[in-house]
Symmetry: C2
Subunit: 299 residues, 2 copies
């Protein structure tokens, strides 16, 4: 792989995830913090209007608007479709080099610590993940292989990835997570700098990562007409599972508890590792959690 020349750090892709919003504002105010000798770093706010209004999005999820089809369709004119095109112009300007890396900052109500989310097994990203998780036990690596047609901002470039921090409620700042995320970003930039200098901190090591298997929805009543596309939820995340992201869930362990107090158990055949447990924005997407497999790999 050639040198890294341009890095973009994006906050507020979702407007109510304040950690990234205020980190990017800090980086815009103090550009020296993200300046490194061998590459250029750009700090960019994502969904400006949603940030102003304290919402995830205005008309539709910006982080599903970066499809080739959508970006090339002049008919699409919602705020987010328009903003996605503007962001693409900044990150991939015509007749100028595109960014090599996108670091997309998110936060979650799930207890994800400092999660790196990769959408493929790019060896450079895996080595970065191995290095960062070896220096900080809060760092976890989640690999969720996704088509570039999912419309995610990170899919605009080969080395695009998400930092997902939590647990933190929407529309609040948690100072500890803010500072930990900030340090993680500096660690990432330092790693890129070392790479460019031919001096990466660790040549080979074992990466523990969590690979996406499937999504579990809440138990729901049948859908009915009207505004709501899904049935009403009939159960909550079980107290034994709440905040236990990245911990093993064994066959027979409780997963949900109904409003009436009836427990619902995990009926799979092998141990899995749930993540994104009880993320607020995923109720509407029909996701109570993702299930993952814990894996190791020499990178």
């Amino acid at each position: 792989m050639s040198q890294i020349e341009r890095v973009a750090i994006v906050g507020g892709n979702h407007g109510n995830e304040l950690t990234g919003v205020h980190l990017v504002k800090k980086f815009q105010q103090y550009p020296n913090l993200i300046h490194r000798a061998s590459f250029e770093t750009l700090a960019l706010l994502g969904n400006l209007k949603a940030i102003e209004e304290g919402k995830r999005y205005i008309d539709k999820d910006l982080n599903r608007c970066f499809t080739n089809q959508g970006l090339q369709n002049p008919q699409l004119s919602s705020y987010e479709d328009t903003r996605a095109k503007a962001i693409q112009q900044i990150l991939q300007p015509q007749n100028q080099p595109s960014v090599d890396v996108i670091v997309d900052l998110h936060s979650t109500t799930a207890n994800m610590g400092l999660s790196l989310i990769f959408c493929d097994m790019h060896p450079f990203l895996l080595r970065l993940g191995a290095y960062l998780s070896s220096t900080n036990p809060m760092v976890k690596v989640f690999v969720n292989q996704q088509s570039r047609e999912g419309g995610f901002l990170r899919s605009l470039c080969e080395l695009g990835f998400v930092i997902e921090v939590g647990a933190v409620a929407q529309n609040i700042l948690n100072a500890e997570l803010f500072q930990q995320t900030e340090q993680l970003i500096y660690g990432i930039l330092d790693y890129f700098e070392a790479y460019n200098q031919g001096n990466i901190p660790q040549k080979s090591s074992t990466l523990t990562f969590y690979q996406y298997i499937r999504t579990i929805d809440y138990p729901r009543s049948d859908a009915y007409g009207g505004l709501r596309q899904r049935g009403e939820i009939k159960a909550m995340i079980h107290p034994h599972l709440q905040f236990r992201d990245y911990e093993p869930l064994n066959p027979g362990d409780p997963m949900f508890i109904t409003f009436e107090g009836k427990e619902i158990f995990y009926e799979g055949e092998f141990t899995v590792y749930p993540i994104f447990i009880n993320e607020a924005a995923y109720y509407e997407k029909g996701i109570a959690m993702h299930l993952s497999q814990k894996q190791q790999k020499i990178v």
Copy 2:
């Protein structure tokens, strides 16, 4: 005081506070749970449209719309003004007796446990608070004396009060808090039943309560034009204070930390007890926390 004849339990006065919403839906589905022999109990959803959309409110905060002036003004026609009038009609129907008690269910991102919020020192409520907090250490009593013209739902009747539970993010359910709130409601209804039977569990006891002193805002930059009415926040709740609601804050203790990492200390002259620390909905209201005094009273 005469008998309690009608009790209203309201959930979803704020549409993104799901604990109350789903408790009320449960009570509507299983009315026996809130049925007691000596009085009638009504379970009512507050801001229907905001519940449907997963927002605190649509146009304005419903829980500021219950002023006499607003309720009597036919010109006011926002969704919340209209809904406030409809709720008043249900709770105070013409030519029929009004409800005697309103239990208004809220949740918060602050670590408030199970808080009872009273807007005056009504002896009946203080005795109720003393009883409930003596049987469950998670129950705290916060007295925030407020004019009936604040427009709060609870101010529609003498024995109106709020149950505020947390910490829980907006738009999610925490099963443990859901079940604890449910049990607290049954305890309250049982207390009313015992009162009506002349058989209240405890005749006299000492109540520990927290009395509102004042509000502290985040440190902010100067306000500027545009949509935003307040300046941008310059600091976050200090990690030592985060989730420490109802714990003592002494002169010289850290309160905030700026984005640059500078600590800001409490400069008051005596120990106070902060509550509503880092409530998401209060950023826009200019409230980082309330300060209270811890007091005891024989009731």
